[in-house]
């Protein structure tokens, strides 16, 4: 009963692949749309002192709503669709993405922004070419946390039928059969680790200046 049924695995390679891809098709759009929403909000929070508390506070409050409740609340609006799963997870990424982007922008040396404006860059160009690149390491730290968190949270959406690898949990629970549950846990873990590694690589490629940390020759 509790032992792993190894024979299950070869029979379900196709299922596992489908579910893994399904898992990704929920997690990736969730994090990406989280970024699309978080970046402008963070820029506003960074620029406008008065709105900073409001934006950060609101994203905190959203984070405290239990995930399951979210899907229930969203159901009347978006229905039983993949969109509901993605929307719910997107909202969860906001708190960490907004907070890290604001922190990242705060960490940009004032003299760099100052110099950019004084050289004749307009504010938007300064934001895109100086501030965001310099904030990238801190933003990426947020993206990594958000990604890993989202990958593990996707399974909750199996409640509404879009849980990716979470389907394996439901399946296992319903049949009191642990093997699919363990497979789901392992695959989710693997996926999270893999996604994190990809993000580390992306960050490495995007921040060539951070590679040479030794001073002088």
């Amino acid at each position: 009963m509790t032992a792993i049924d190894w024979a299950w695995f070869p029979d379900h390679i196709g299922d596992m692949t489908t579910l893994t891809l399904d898992h990704l098709s929920i997690a990736v759009p969730a994090v990406l749309s989280g970024l699309v929403i978080a970046l402008p909000l963070a820029v506003v929070a960074h620029r406008v002192r008065k709105l900073r508390g409001l934006i950060l506070g609101a994203s905190n409050v959203l984070f405290t709503v239990p995930s399951l409740a979210f899907f229930v609340l969203l159901l009347p609006v978006t229905g039983l669709t993949r969109g509901t799963a993605i929307t719910g997870l997107t909202i969860y990424t906001l708190v960490v993405l907004i907070r890290n982007t604001v922190d990242g922008l705060d960490s940009v040396p004032a003299h760099a922004r100052e110099a950019s404006l004084a050289m004749g860059s307009r504010p938007l160009r300064t934001l895109l070419t100086v501030e965001l690149p310099l904030a990238l390491p801190v933003i990426m730290a947020g993206v990594r946390v958000a990604t890993v968190m989202t990958i593990s949270l996707v399974s909750v959406a199996s409640y509404i039928g879009y849980g990716g690898l979470g389907q394996l949990f439901t399946d296992g629970f319903q049949r009191s059969y642990t093997t699919p549950v363990i497979a789901g846990v392992l695959l989710t873990l693997l996926l999270a680790l893999l996604a994190d590694a990809v993000l580390v690589a992306v960050q490495y490629l995007c921040t060539p200046w951070a590679r040479h940390r030794t001073k002088g020759a």
Partner: protein, 419 residues
Amino acid sequence: MQSGKGHRMISFDAVSKHYPNGTTAVDDLTLELPEGGLTVLVGSSGCGKTTTLRMINRMVEPSSGTVRVAGRDVRDSDAAELRRSIGYVIQQSGLFPHRTVLDNVATVPLLLGWGRQKSRSRAAELLERVGLDAGSAKRYPHQLSGGQQQRVGVARALAADPPVLLMDEPFGAVDPVVRTQLQDELLRLQRDLRKTVVFVTHDIDEAVRLGDRIAVFRTGGRLVQCAPPAQLLTRPADDFVAGFLGAERGLKLLSLTTLGEAAVPHTPASPVRTDEPVSGIRTDGGTRTDGGKETGPGTDGRWRIAVAPDGRPVGWLDTEALPTGGTAGDADLLPLRPLHDEDSLLAALDESLTSPARAVARVHGDGVLAGVTGRAALHERAALHHAAAAMEAEPAGDESHLDRQDSADTGARTAEAGA
């Protein structure tokens, strides 16, 4: 005396800057900065000098009054475009940490739409100009020393060949030796480029060293006096300026003039070659420091200049403490600083104080000993020079320190030197 380059490049007309919290950063400033001159804004912190600088490129907008660059109200220009035509070097270099040195320097050319290739080749040219090797181009700013970073900062500011260069305490964060080098290089660059430079510092020595003209600000954003260094030093407008210049005003003035400009004479020396055997050195007939006029210690021939076989002086030889054998080079020589005609009167005076012979060794451009100048002769020259500078600088009456700005041209420094 009247400047040939009379054009005023930058002008402040009754400019004030007040902040909402009630502080006044700049108070009713009227000032004109001539084209091609290096004007230093100096004062203690909070005196409005940086605010003044930043109003030129609209990093700060004045509360009232008009700032003009090349005759044009800066408010009539788009701020970003205006800034591309004004070089700016800030404290701590302000380089972009995420861009290579080359791309940092190429910033403004890229903004101006020169294209990547042209911008980069221009950047490489400038790096060479400020004395950085090609290998540094591909590095990131944090891989360079503080002095190198400042050079990159200067190269970046000059990249698009702007007529105006603003420098906000650019050398404040580097050690004194590097600072002196950077100052020398700025002067060298400025001799070639003749930009209109506005330089902010709180260091009066730096101001005297660099400035064609120095504008002294007082706390509360008031300009107290703007004049060439020699005039400032000989005729400070009030006690505040005098106090700011410090007790060594006279010495600072001497730092402005070279031995060559002051035509300080020297007399032939009778040096000892370091490869001469000590047995052949007589203790008389040594260095007479003032054509024989001067008597007393140091001119009695005890001290002679030891020169290397190529004629360069290497130290003072005490003929009363010669080694028992060997050559003059084996003796314990006292240090000697050879003085070129390009060295300042101050450097010569300093050397004369430490020289055991009460005289300084003068050398030709190639470093070969030319002769000696005695301490007394040097003092006399320095006093004459000081008097001449004071005469040259017109009396600074009530308002005249402001009215005089047109005639206080950038060449005044050399004019006085020649007097």
